[in-house]
């Protein structure tokens, strides 16, 4: 008698085919406090949390076309927490009337052997950085205020250097495709943060 085959479960979770709606902006270091103060007032009053993450960006170069990019991220503050693997698609060209950048997004929680696994698969680490900051939520809206730092010695997250004198502010929502009402909510929220920070729809391709 043969053993039953290893079950190959279909992926049934709701994490597939989600879109990320994103608005970005930045504040100078000196105005961080007032922004945080404002966010604390606007967002759900769960205790404000700070975070420290290490992100590694992996590329898989094929024969032709663009390389395939995956982002692996881990929490430095919670070393036992799972890694987070993320695929971000190209921003949808879509109509101009939409208030936020929309792109395909696949989120996977992964075990700690993720870097080895990716290396085995042929991915190569392209760059890495450390993000430290604060995270807020208001319903489904997520606000991340973070300082990005360059990792000076590869793999050593203790030895970092800030990339700039400002903080990156990101307002994002994960929603199934086609739910454009969330972008309306995002715009309303972004309006309330003016003039502390101007959150805008920024196309990453334009910056490259």
């Amino acid at each position: 008698m043969e053993a039953p085959p290893v079950t190959v479960m279909p992926v049934t979770g709701g994490t597939i085919n989600m879109m990320e709606y994103l608005l970005q902006g930045s504040v100078l270091d000196q105005s961080l406090d007032s922004l945080l103060h404002r966010l604390r007032g606007l967002c759900d009053n769960i205790e404000p949390e700070s975070f420290a993450d290490h992100e590694l960006v992996y590329l898989l170069k094929g024969q032709q076309g663009n390389p395939f990019i995956l982002r692996a991220r881990r929490s430095l503050a919670h070393p036992t927490a799972p890694w987070h693997l993320r695929y971000l698609g190209q921003p949808e060209v879509g109509d101009k009337s939409r208030h936020a950048l929309v792109r395909n997004c696949v989120d996977v929680a992964a075990s700690h052997s993720l870097p080895d696994f990716l290396n085995e698969m042929g991915f190569r680490m392209d760059h890495e950085f450390v993000a430290k900051g604060h995270i807020f939520r208001k319903g489904v809206l997520k606000v991340v205020v973070s300082k990005l730092s360059r990792v000076l010695v590869p793999g050593n997250t203790d030895n970092t250097e800030p990339l700039s004198l400002s903080y990156l502010v990101e307002l994002s929502v994960l929603a199934p495709a086609g739910q454009d009402t969330v972008s309306e909510d995002m715009r309303n929220f972004a309006e309330q943060l003016k003039p502390l920070v101007h959150l805008e729809k920024i196309d990453p391709k334009r910056l490259m």
Binding site: T7, T80, A109, S111
Partner: protein, 576 residues
């Protein structure tokens, strides 16, 4: 305005033509006064200037008219007597007299009315400003209160209403109660009366089902006789003593929120009571959970909710029994609710989506733990070997791994132990090849112990398989031996096999903890230490198996247990 008023007041002269009989010598000049208002104005201004009171002239006029009236009255009474005085008609032009009289009366009336109107208007204005200032004061007070409320409770404006939030939703609660309260302006106070001391311009309206107070009561009963409640925990802040500076609405909201919390705790407990399987099922009826942790002992948890009117009646017995309040239980309940709430916390790393913690624990964390346990066992123990085949595509709530326990070089014949581990949210389900299911928790030790006992069984299974291939006969086989030293984990297993011609027998006992012990039974003829028996004369009895001897296993050559066993069997098999 006051000038005008004074002017008008001055015009009121009751002496003016009040009586047709009395011909005032000044009358003519007064009439001319009316006809020449400009002159009079200047004149009047000069007249009223010294007196401070606008009604001064009116009073004077009234007094003089009164005097005249008195004189008239006296005169009339004298005339009535007809002793000293008599009235005779005097021929006069009546029209000439009457016209000015009517005119005077109308003008007097008019000026009175104008003065009255002026006064009324002024009073109205004053009144309005008083009301306005009071309203403003109340408004300002309402706004201040609202600000105060806003600093402690969550508020939002919906249409023309101000709604507040009592729920723990923003802290991660998924309780379905909306927990909304409405802020209303307290307008039912009468402005004319004195405002009571405890008056507050702001009032809150809480949902009717959150009114009153609630607590969770836990009691233990033996059989049917009550052995007394173990205790009652009241999460209601007993006898809400107003802290200085705290408002009535604050106490009301706190009480309502406490009711909501009790409801939420109870809902969570009910859910758990229904979900947890037990020999005697837990019963959830209305607002009571009944469970039997031990035979004859009944634990009941109930949600007590009383409306406002009963609060005062209940408050007094509570005060008399302060021991009724179990702080440990209260702490536990708080902890429970906190645990439930913190199940959806901020994601770490920050890029991860907002998902319940459960999901993240279920997937990679359980996967990692299991993988680590299997890997460490595999690297620590070389014989038998553990192979783990992980499935690459997993469900969000479950991952699976197939574990094979084999002996190196004998993979084809020894594949008795094949396990499938389904790693789920709360447990690991182990499915045996033969369909048996064992459920393990995520405790690493548990899985490790299980695998160790499986590995120990594997060795005995392998001997059985090998015996079949080598042509040996299985005399006995047991997965769980009831004899010998007790193992701390699992049971020892044992097998006895006899050589093809029956001359030799090998007994193997293998325990997860004690390890293995191999004994060989020799034919009697080879046992030199056995004294020759006088009873057994016939040579055929020499082929009976005699005593056992333990094999010095470590001295045996071979890379693993099963290889050594094969060598041993081969050595004991007589060539035909």
């Amino acid at each position: 305005m006051s000038q005008n008023l004074a002017k008008l007041a001055q015009r009121i002269d009751f002496g003016q033509g009040s009586d047709s009989d009395e011909e005032d010598p000044h009358e003519q000049s007064r009439v001319s006064d009316w006809s020449k208002p400009d002159l009079e104005g200047e004149d009047g201004l000069a007249k009223f200037q010294p007196c401070s009171w606008p009604w001064d002239s009116v009073r004077n006029h009234l007094r003089s008219s009164l005097t005249e009236m008195c004189v008239l009255h006296d005169m009339l009474s004298v005339i009535k007597e007809k002793k000293y005085m008599a009235l005779d008609p005097v021929s006069q032009d009546s029209i000439a007299v009457k016209t000015p009289q009517v005119f005077q009366l109308i003008s007097k009336k008019k000026s009175l009315a104008t003065a009255a109107q002026l006064l009324l208007r002024g009073a109205e204005k004053l009144n309005k400003s008083v009301v306005e200032s009071q309203e403003q004061w109340r408004q300002r007070d309402f706004n201040a209160e609202l600000l105060h409320l806003r600093s402690q409770w969550k508020l939002r404006k919906v249409g023309d209403k101000i709604l507040g939030d009592l729920s723990y939703r923003s802290a991660g609660s998924l309780f379905t109660h909306h927990g909304t309260f409405e802020v209303i302006k307290n307008t039912d106070v009468d402005l004319d009366k004195k405002i009571p001391d405890n008056y507050c311009p702001l009032n809150v309206q809480i949902p009717s089902d959150l009114e009153g107070s609630a607590y969770i009561k836990v009691s233990i009963q033996k059989q049917s006789a009550d052995i007394g409640g173990l205790g009652t925990v009241s999460l209601f802040r007993k006898s809400p003593k107003a802290k200085p500076g705290s408002q009535a609405w604050h106490l009301k909201l706190e009480a309502a929120q406490n009711v909501l919390m009790c409801k939420e705790i109870f809902a969570q407990l009910s859910r758990e009571a229904v979900q947890i399987k037990s020999h005697i099922p837990h019963i959830v009826i209305k607002n009571q959970i009944i469970s039997q942790p031990f035979p004859g002992l009944q634990l009941s948890i109930s949600l007590c909710h009383s409306t406002m009117d009963k609060t005062n009646q209940r408050a007094s017995p509570e005060k008399t029994k302060p021991d009724d309040h179990l702080y440990v239980l209260e702490h536990n309940l708080h902890q429970l609710i906190r645990e439930t709430l913190s199940s959806s916390v901020m994601p770490h790393p920050a890029s991860a989506p907002f998902v319940p913690k459960r999901l993240r624990v279920a997937g990679p964390m359980a996967y990692d733990k299991t993988a680590r346990t299997i890997d460490s066992l595999a690297s620590r123990i070389e014989d038998p070997q553990i192979q783990a085949h992980w499935s690459n595509i997993n469900d969000v709530y479950e991952s699976s791994v197939k574990v094979l326990i084999t002996s190196q070089g004998y993979e084809q014949i020894c594949k008795s132990i094949q396990l499938q581990l389904n790693i789920g949210v709360e447990q690991i389900r182990v499915v045996h090849r033969d369909g048996r299911v064992i459920t393990l928790s995520h405790q690493e030790q548990e899985l490790q112990d299980f695998l160790l006992s499986q590995m120990s069984q594997h060795q005995v299974h392998a001997v059985q398989q090998l015996a079949k291939v080598m042509g040996w006969h299985v005399l006995s086989f047991s997965n769980h031996v009831g004899l010998g030293a007790i193992e701390s984990i699992g049971n020892a297993s044992a097998i006895t096999v006899a050589s093809p011609n029956g001359a030799y027998a090998i007994s193997v006992r293998n325990g997860p903890e004690s390890g293995f012990k191999v004994l060989v039974q020799f034919p009697r003829c080879q046992a030199k230490e056995l004294p020759k028996s006088d009873v057994l004369q016939d040579g055929k009895w020499n082929y009976l198996r005699g005593p056992y001897k333990e094999v010095h296993w470590s001295k045996l050559e071979g890379r693993n247990f099963i290889y050594k066993m094969e060598l041993l069997m081969a050595a004991l098999t007589t060539c035909p």
